[in-house]
Structures are given as structure tokens and as C-alpha cells.
């Protein structure tokens, strides 16, 4: 590590014994980053900030929350009415969960579009899918805590999914509940896990970043960095770009918190849980709707559960399903079209998950589910045999510097 760059004697003294400042200087200051990143590369740092926001507001909420079936609902109402700034803290936490998912979903689709999951970033991608799974578990358990009708019945329906497992299903469900229905034991353990899982996420995020810094970011044209002419030091170029993006994000987030705090929630969750009465129409939080639609599309209980978990499991293996060596969709004309179809398909699944499971909605759910799996399991491996990819530019700096399209950059190389 290059030495003696710190003037402050205290920093110098510490760094000699604990090279934390050298480490940060190396990973955050000089860290060479492709110079052609667009705004879709903001969403990683936004996700990190969302996670920190959730942890801070969560710790504060826990100071006023009571995890007991008789008090949970009232304690959340007390947070809303009596605790100083409680309404603000809770609305940030509640909407923060939604925005966290928005950011992470954009981050994932960015990866799919630009082929960021391909070698040598397979583990980076897998760690990302693992983070998604942990987030889903955390958000699911968090939603149970206010102990409203949707909390209770969402928890009942989702934990009952495990009863589809042959032979041991029922025992697993009883074990998850700690009783014979979703009850006080369930609420307590969910609170405990909801508190701790975000810190597990922090651990996986650190691994995600270590894997990222091994080869650095992918970029919109998906070719490897060839040398310093292709990169910029992270600071100040991307620190400032990330901060600008953060400003925009916070503006939208604040608008939601202050003006539409319940827009993404469900009014039934302001009715206290009643184990004797199921609400007429149970829907999960919006970020689970596509998966819920897949669950309901399959007419068999075990089959539905397998397809739902399969829809996430398949994400773990896409680095090996996609056999094309070209990363970015910019050079894959057919892949690009199908990317947009996949995005539309996921949005459609989300819509269908919110609709009652009957008539045309069921049929559409089946078609959309079939497409989802077709995309990853059949299209990904086969497309490279049919698709003629566009020629790749020689380097990142070339199309950027000449300001020309990648195709002409290639023509330039041909001439040479």
C-alpha cells in the first residue's frame, strides 16, 4: 500500500497500526471505476443507504414496540399518536421497505440487461440473490409485527405453504408457529428474527462488495476495462454522481413519506388481527405479488409452492444458463427484445397477484408464469445459437472519446 499520504499525525499513527485509512483510501478514493457508467449504476449505493435507513429506524421503533399479541397493535398505534415523531419514524420504516425493494428490483434488472452476472461476477450475482431472499424473509416478518389483519392472515397463509411438503409439512408448520396457529410465540420469534436478519444482510452485503471490488463494476457496454484510460477514480467522480442520485431518491421518498404514506399499504392492516375472521381478499405487500401470482397459477398446492420458490432459485443459476459470452444487451438485438418482454411479464405477474384468483386472471397467470420460466430455462441457453450479436467496440474509451456509436467504433478498427 502506498505510504505516507496522510498528513494528520493521529491518522498516520492509527493507520500504521490498523490500516483502516489506507483501506478506505484504496477502496473508496482511488478505486478505479469504468468511466462510462450510467445512472443505473446508482442503485447499488442507494440500496446500501436504504438498508442503513431501515436499521436505524428499526432500532428506534423497537424501543417503543411490544411484541405481544395483546399489545403489539396498540403499541404501534401509540408510536403513531403519542411517541414523539413516532409517526415519522414508522412511516419512514414502512415506506422504506417498499423503496428498498424498488431500488433492489431496478438494481437486479440492471444486472440482467447488462449481463453483469456473467464471468467473472457469478459469485457477486449469487450473493445478490441471497440478499434478495434475506430481504424477503425480513420484510415478511416485519409486516407481521403491527399485528393487523393482513399481518396475521399473511403470516398464516405464507407459513402454511410449508404444509405442502409431504410427510413432515405439518410438523414443520407447528414448529414455525410454536403452537397450533399463528400466535404469541410466532409473533415473538418473528420479532427476534426481524431484528437480527438485517444485520445478517449487512454481512452478506460486505461479501457482495468484496466480490465487486475484485474485478470492479461491469459497465453499459459490458466489455472489460483495458487500462487506466478506461477508468476514473471513484472519488470524486462517482461519489458526486451517487450523491446527486441520492438527492433525487430522497426527494421522491420524502414525498411518499409525507404525502402518501399509506399508498403502498393495505387498509385492512389498520384493523387488529382476528384469528376467527379472514378478510375477504388477502393480498401480500406489492413486492411479493409476482411470486404470489406464480403460487396461485399452479392448480396444485405442492406444485404452486415449488414453482414459487423455483422462480427465485432459478436466479441463482442464470450465470450458467446464459451461454452467450457477450454481456451487454446493447450488442444482443434479440436478447434485448426479450429483456423487455421479461420486464413486462414480471409487471403483469405483479398485477395478477393483486387480482382475485378466478377466471381470466388464472389463465393469464399461467401464461405469464410459463413465460417466466421459458425465459430463463429455454431462451437463455438456446438464444446464443440463433442470435447474431453486434460487433463489440475495442475498448471503453474509444466509443466514449470519439463520441461515436459502437458500430462505427468497430468500423474504425476494421479500417486500421
Amino acid at each position: 500500500m502506498s505510504k505516507a499520504k496522510f498528513k494528520n499525525p493521529v491518522v498516520k499513527w492509527i493507520d500504521h497500526r490498523l490500516p483502516i485509512f489506507s483501506f478506505m483510501d484504496h477502496e473508496l478514493n482511488h478505486y478505479p471505476t469504468p468511466k462510462n457508467l450510467n445512472y443505473f449504476w446508482n442503485f447499488g449505493s442507494l440500496a446500501g443507504i436504504a438498508l442503513v435507513t431501515m436499521i436505524i429506524t428499526g432500532i428506534v421503533l423497537s424501543m417503543n414496540y411490544t411484541a405481544h399479541v395483546d399489545y403489539a397493535f396498540d403499541s404501534v398505534e401509540r408510536i403513531m399518536r403519542d411517541v414523539n415523531h413516532g409517526w415519522l419514524i414508522r412511516y419512514i420504516h414502512m415506506n422504506g421497505a417498499s423503496f428498498f425493494f424498488i431500488v433492489v428490483y431496478i438494481h437486479i434488472f440492471r444486472g440482467l440487461y447488462y449481463g453483469s452476472y456473467k464471468a467473472p461476477r457469478e459469485l457477486l450475482w449469487i450473493l445478490g440473490v441471497l440478499i434478495l431472499l434475506l430481504m424477503m424473509a425480513t420484510a415478511f416478518m416485519g409486516y407481521v409485527l403491527p399485528w393487523g389483519q393482513m399481518s396475521f392472515w399473511g403470516a398464516t397463509v405464507i407459513t402454511n405453504l410449508f404444509s405442502a411438503i409431504p410427510l413432515v409439512g405439518e410438523s414443520i408448520v407447528t414448529w414455525l408457529w410454536g403452537g397450533f396457529s399463528v400466535d404469541n410465540s410466532t409473533l415473538n420469534r418473528f420479532f427476534s428474527l426481524h431484528f437480527v436478519l438485517p444485520f445478517v444482510i449487512v454481512g452478506v452485503v460486505i461479501l457482495h462488495l468484496v466480490a465487486l471490488h475484485r474485478f470492479g463494476s461491469n459497465n453499459p457496454i459490458g466489455i472489460d476495462v483495458k487500462g487506466t484510460q478506461d477508468t476514473l477514480p471513484f472519488n470524486p467522480y462517482y461519489t458526486i454522481k451517487d450523491l446527486f442520485g441520492l438527492g433525487v431518491f430522497l426527494t421522491i421518498f420524502a414525498a411518499a413519506v409525507f404525502f402518501f404514506p399509506n399508498f403502498m399499504g393495505h387498509p385492512d392492516n389498520y384493523i387488529e388481527a382476528n384469528p376467527m375472521v379472514t378478510p375477504a381478499h388477502i393480498v401480500p405487500e406489492w413486492y411479493f405479488l409476482p411470486f404470489y401470482a406464480i403460487l396461485r397459477a399452479i392448480p396444485d398446492k405442492l406444485g404452486g409452492v415449488l414453482f414459487m420458490f423455483g422462480s427465485i432459485a432459478v436466479l441463482f443459476v442464470i450465470p450458467w444458463l446464459d451461454r452467450s459470452s457477450v454481456r451487454s444487451s446493447q450488442f444482443r438485438p434479440i436478447f434485448k427484445i426479450f429483456f423487455w418482454i421479461l420486464l413486462a411479464d414480471c409487471v403483469l405477474l405483479g398485477y395478477l397477484g393483486a387480482m382475485p384468483a378466478e377466471g381470466i386472471y388464472v389463465i393469464l397467470s399461467r401464461i405469464a408464469t410459463a413465460y417466466y420460466f421459458f425465459h430463463f430455462l429455454i431462451l437463455f441457453p438456446l438464444l446464443p445459437y440463433i442470435e447474431k450479436t453486434k460487433p463489440l467496440p475495442i475498448s471503453i474509451s474509444e466509443p466514449v472519446l470519439s463520441g461515436s456509436s459502437p458500430a462505427s467504433a468497430f468500423a474504425f478498427r476494421e479500417k486500421k
Binding site: 407459513t159 402454511n160 407447528t174 397450533f180 400466535d183 420469534r189 384469528p275
Partner: protein, 181 residues
Amino acid sequence: MSTKSKTKKNKDEGKRDFLVVSTYAMAGIGAASFAWPLIDQMNPAADTLALASTEIDLSSLEEGQAITVKWRGKPVFVRHRTAEEIKNAQEASIDDMRDPEKDSDRVTNEKYIVLVGVCTHLGCVPLGQKSGDVKGQYGGWFCPCHGSHYDHSGRIRKGPAPTNLAVPSYEFLSDTLIKIG
């Protein structure tokens, strides 16, 4: 000589392997036996198990009426069936049912059907207990969550639920008093 020392060495290696393997095995057993209490603590506790029975007085339950009581945190349905409902339940052909069961195997006293009011699909509480409720195509209960239809015996006839509504273990303490659990 050389062969002798070689076999000696092999013997030592074998001994060492045995020690390594048995150490791993013991450590494995130790870890598993420490993990078990941590896992098993999540199963129902003794007091949860102890709360496991409820008595219901049926004397004021008129024909055609139903009541719901709470047992182990779940609703239990008791319906005082009309003569026609009993006839329906008994005469329905069980051959093409998903979970074929005779009505007589599901009741102690045919007038009263006692069921765990939890849909066997994903655990919602079916409608049909109150007079104004939707009761589904077979007149028994209807689960609005994903559309399961149950008949007058609580058997699944249509929809995604895999099995009939469960019959809890219960006994008649007198003509109109039952103990569930």
C-alpha cells in the same frame, strides 16, 4: 526391512486416520446434540400444549344454526344440521371426491358436524357459519381466499384445498355438551 518399516508406517497412518475420523464424529455428535435444544425450543411449549381442550354447550344451538369456538387458537365450527343437510351429506357419492370419506365416518352424532374451521389449502377461515355468508356450491362452507368449496360434511368438493376440513378429536360428555381435544 524396508517392507517392515513401510507396514509399520501404514499402521500408524491407519491409527491416525481412525483418530481423526472419530474426533470429527464426536465433534459432529456434540454439535448436533447442542443444536437440537436450540431447534426444539421452537416447538409448542408445555403450557401451549396444556391449553389443548375446550368444552362447548350445544343446548341453545337450534337446527340450522352454527357456532364457532376457539380451540388452540383456531376456530372450531359446530353446525346443527337440518334433516335435509344430513341427507345431502350422506347420499353424496364419494367416488369422485378428492378426499373420499363417508359422512358417517366424520360425525359422532349425525345432527352435529364438528370441524376445525381452517381451510386445508393455506389456512384461511372459510365462510358459512353466519346465516348471511356465502356457503359455496355445495352448501357447506366456502373459502374466499382461493375459492375452495366444502359440502355439508366439510368435505372438499371444488377448489385448490387438498383435503377435507379436519375433524378434531372430541367426545360427547352429555347429549348437548362436547369436549374438544
